[in-house]
Symmetry: C2
Subunit: 425 residues, 2 copies
């Protein structure tokens, strides 16, 4: 197709007339579709149905170490659940704290603890004049919502296909003691689907921050969430790399089964050094007697007795892959050559990241909404919801059906064309 940038004004006007007609026609269909959030579909949730049979009234509820999982106790999780979480991210069970149903809650609590009680004896962040976080952008809106909520200043760091700009990160953490952390989604990043290169992970492990209580918040949310059997990203193990660099307290790694079993009823885990675990457990012991061990046991049984984690993730991929392909094919067919948008083709994760022409993202989202398709709000992938170039849009293909995705993506491309034409004219 001919690039919009090479069209004459007349051609652009003709194109606009055509696209407006397409838009109006689609609008008349009264769509109500949602491509806004990374929610698993029912079909994906059904993959874990049998987990519900793993503990019944006939089952033993006693853990390997003889713990009655129904009762109080065991602050950091039963042994076999630690082993299971460890297996998800290639860690040791001794480095794991098993949490409740939400890794977001775990991340929030980790920051809340640092605010109120400080990390390993350091001044609580709430007592400092200024606390800053580095935020690779585009990134995950709920990360930014947490840091914003605590009044933490967010410094955007540009993402590249190899990970965030490490030159910038190394320079900033070395010179500014008020920088206390960085949000990372190291594998199949949200929203771009990038995985950090070996060099990036090694440079993270070597960081020498001015702040002793600087921590990398390593949200390994998509550690095993591949889309393809034959194309799988592999990232270095950050805890191991930090260990090599004698920097082992630098990282809090997070993961959960929310996009593996039940989004609202999974288990989450924190993976970190012994020093950090000791520090956190001391404070966690005031907060709770322990998280739900029954659900821990249920998960462990499911993945040892019913299905292997690897096979289970393959089944997820088989559901997700055609959805991603549907979106990508339509983007390709409708937009390639027009030079009005760029997008990623990731090997895993939950999102497709779309960059429009500068200043068009908000308009595209608004046009889509007007025609009945809800997208993630423009700007959501940036701290405080402000995308300075107003161009990044996160597409979440997991929840709608293929038919719905076809309609929604078709409409989306029409909105992209329309907003781009408005800009160019």
């Amino acid at each position: 197709m001919k690039s919009y940038h090479q069209m004459s004004k007349k051609e652009l006007l003709e194109e606009q007339e055509k696209v407006v007609a397409q838009y109006e026609a689609l609008k008349k269909r009264g769509l109500t579709l949602d491509m806004s959030r990374g929610k698993p579909s029912s079909e994906q949730l059904d993959l874990s149905r049998k987990m519900l049979d793993c503990i019944t009234s006939e089952s033993s509820c006693i853990s390997e170490e003889g713990i009655d999982c129904r009762n109080y106790g065991v602050l950091d999780g039963i042994k076999e659940a630690k082993e299971f979480i460890a297996s998800m991210v290639d860690a040791s069970a001794e480095n794991v704290i098993v949490y409740g149903n939400s890794s977001l809650n775990l991340m929030y609590d980790t920051i809340a603890r640092a605010m109120l009680h400080g990390i390993m004896g350091n001044t609580p962040w709430s007592k400092l004049d200024k606390v800053k976080f580095l935020c690779p952008v585009p990134g995950y809106d709920r990360h930014f919502a947490i840091t914003s909520h605590f009044g933490i200043e967010m410094i955007p760091v540009p993402m590249k296909s190899t990970g965030p700009d490490m030159d910038m990160i190394e320079r900033l953490v070395k010179e500014d003691e008020s920088i206390k952390g960085i949000w990372c989604v190291p594998k199949y990043s949200n929203p771009q689907g990038y995985s950090y290169s070996d060099d990036t992970v090694k440079r993270f492990a070597k960081l020498k921050p001015a702040a002793k209580d600087f921590r990398i918040f390593w949200d390994n949310a998509y550690a095993i969430h591949h889309l393809y059997e034959e194309k799988q990203d592999v990232i270095l193990n950050i805890l191991e790399e930090c260990e090599k660099e004698n920097n082992k307290d630098l990282v809090y790694e997070f993961c959960s089964t929310s996009k593996i079993t039940f989004a609202g009823g999974g288990i989450a885990g924190l993976i970190t050094s012994q020093n950090n675990i000791k520090d956190i457990k001391k404070q966690m012991g005031i907060q709770t007697i322990g998280h739900d061990k029954m659900n821990q046991l249920r998960h462990v049984k499911f993945f040892s007795e019913i299905v292997s984690l690897k096979e289970h993730m393959k089944r997820h991929a088989n559901i997700l892959r055609p959805k991603f392909e549907t979106v990508l094919t339509i983007l390709e067919n409708e937009l390639s050559g027009l030079e009005i948008g760029e997008w990623n083709r990731a090997n895993g994760g939950y999102f497709i990241s779309f960059d429009s022409l500068e200043g068009c993202a908000k308009r595209i989202i608004a046009l889509a909404k007007e025609a009945g398709v809800i997208m993630t709000p423009a700007g959501a992938t940036y701290p405080n919801g402000i995308d300075p170039l107003d161009k990044n849009i996160r597409i979440a293909p997991s929840l709608p059906s293929i038919d719905e995705l076809e309609m929604a993506t078709k409409l989306f491309t029409v909105c992209v064309k329309l907003a781009s034409l408005e800009k160019l004219l």
Copy 2:
């Protein structure tokens, strides 16, 4: 039996010789018993076994309002779970937020939020020079651990059989703006088993604290945890009373199913005014996408399809009552008339509170431990673990078997005698 206080020195010495011999004999039996924590027994946990069959792979996981409980979403709980929690404490579902598996965690988070973000627009407590809490004593050690953890100064308020000293509370909250809250266990209090009188509840509802962000932390942990069919305490509904007094934002009420279904795998609830709910949800929405709705659904199904809550609590009582009776009978048989201890005979709850002679509690606990019986540490029922008179001991009869309780209580009475004799001689 003759009071120790009326014995001559010679009689006391003779008694001591006898008691020492009993103690040594018991010690030789090498007991390892635990009367320290209010954990339900396996037999009690078994009462909820059928709950595990309430959701299987064949079940619908869709809530009344059409929510797929497996997926993300619903910050404050599914409708039917709100209704269930509301039914436990005679409230309206609209006043309920359903939480995760731990009301302790919920209380901790409520205070953490007040510390970091403030209550309804007021200054966050962490920004104030001084924050104080009133602590009815004896009380629950984990409440005090939370306030202590946040650096909140705790002011002990004596408990009476009608509830805490209201004259003192009214005076203190009126004159001191730094007093921000009070811990209450209004029914079958921990450890004494007292229930607040109507007058006490009404006076709470009428409080006019100097601090606008003062809140009553109303931990209704034993709302339906009766021991007897025919003797049940009834307390006034604090939310209703506050409403009458135009004071409806004054209370956060907490409850959970930890001592109803599974201690580690239940659901918890916060019951409070619409203003408070709005304030809390705004902050909670940053912390999590939602708590485990599958467990909410499981609980609702169990208590609507398998057993009524009332019948279920009767079954708990049938297991607990003989245990309480065993302890009380031995205390009665061994100690009555000696004037070396006083204890309560509550109609519900989880504890028996024992007051020794002043200065004897620590010694009694140490003697018991030496002979293999773990009791709640002396002082645990007071802020910072300091019982100024060193006399209160919390006995938790729920976990051991009747046989074990007989041995442990027998030993306990011997330790009480021994420590008392040491003091009197």
